[in-house]
Symmetry: none
Subunit: 211 residues, 2 copies
């Protein structure tokens, strides 16, 4: 049976979720407190829960700060944020701090139950609206920042992949069944196109996403 903890300062919501989860055969919810500090006290004397439902806006320490502290001491505990905030900053900060799921407060009790199960099954519960923002995170920085076109040919990309994998000219030649002199030729052209003159710079450029 999975053990779930709750950190939520609204007593009504807290009690509601706790009662609901305790009613379920699959879950046990022995601890529901209204601040990170109280949860930390609790954790000093009890086994950490498998899952924590956590609000962001809390008396005392914020939930986001709490994630970091709790995950550091009890890395096995998975944390799902349950909050009214849907702005990108709070979402990202939570995920970066170590949260594994992010739900909005209008989420129904059965959906919360389902989300906890999803988490225990190795998934990350997230509402589609939240997922959308997370995905947008990937889009913005790239389209603008990177994506320069150096006019590299497919073969040149192959060679670059070899370099990034830390291979020597000889090993790259082996990988693609070409002679080491051909590798040299390609690398010379790559250097020209990228305006660099060492393996190191190519690797750095590539891993920074500039190619």
């Amino acid at each position: 049976m999975a053990v779930v903890g709750i950190v939520e300062d609204n007593k009504k919501i807290r009690d509601l979720i706790q009662r609901y989860l305790d009613m379920q055969d699959e879950f046990e919810c022995p601890v529901a407190v209204d601040s990170v500090e109280e949860m930390l006290e609790y954790l000093e004397e009890h086994n950490p829960p498998d899952v924590l439902l956590m609000d962001i806006q809390l008396p005392g320490m914020s939930g986001i700060k709490g994630i970091g502290i709790i995950k550091q001491k009890y890395p096995e505990t998975e944390i799902i944020m349950l909050t009214v905030y849907h702005d990108s900053h709070k979402i990202f900060d939570s995920l970066v701090a170590g949260a594994s799921g992010y739900l909005l407060k209008h989420t129904s009790l059965p959906e919360i139950k389902e989300s906890i199960q999803t988490l225990l099954d190795g998934g990350s519960p997230m509402s589609p609206q939240i997922a959308r923002k997370v995905i947008n995170y990937f889009k913005k920085p790239n389209k603008q920042v990177s994506e320069e076109d150096y006019g590299l040919t497919p073969r040149e990309h192959d060679i670059i992949n070899g370099l990034v994998d830390g291979l020597s000219y000889k090993l790259i030649a082996d990988r693609y069944d070409i002679s080491i002199d051909t590798v040299r030729a390609h690398i010379r052209n790559i250097y020209k196109k990228l305006h660099v003159n060492s393996k190191a710079e190519v690797i750095a450029k590539s891993l920074r996403g500039e190619i």
Copy 2:
């Protein structure tokens, strides 16, 4: 009524989805082809669909490359990947290229329908397993997962920074006002600590956030 297009090389799957969607009152699925190239031809003469379901492994151009081309010409069209691949690279590449959702191929037809509606409502359909990988992306560069302690000294970190900047031993020596032999000495120690034996590997490790 929303217009949906399909790019999928498995004829059985393609026809199945097309027939199913066409049966729905909410959707119309006038185009289902087996390559990005064909979809591009179609788009030249028709209005772009609202949503595209797209495979990754395709004859000719890959679906990931296709995303970029299609989103550039028809930015209003939303793209959902529908694929067997669940490795992080493909997921990230797809999202970065501009996909708005990512489903695995075992997704049922009603779930696909639901996902399209989610997308049209401004959400991003994504299975919990995929969401999990996306979320892990946020965690890695930070605290828990990575950051092995190789016991590198501050000076060694300096030298590594020099390498990552693409500098030669001589330039690193200049930067820190030390002799090239000292640089050599540090690099020898770094190689020992990181268990590598080339600049390339150090740079790769560093830029992947493993140091």
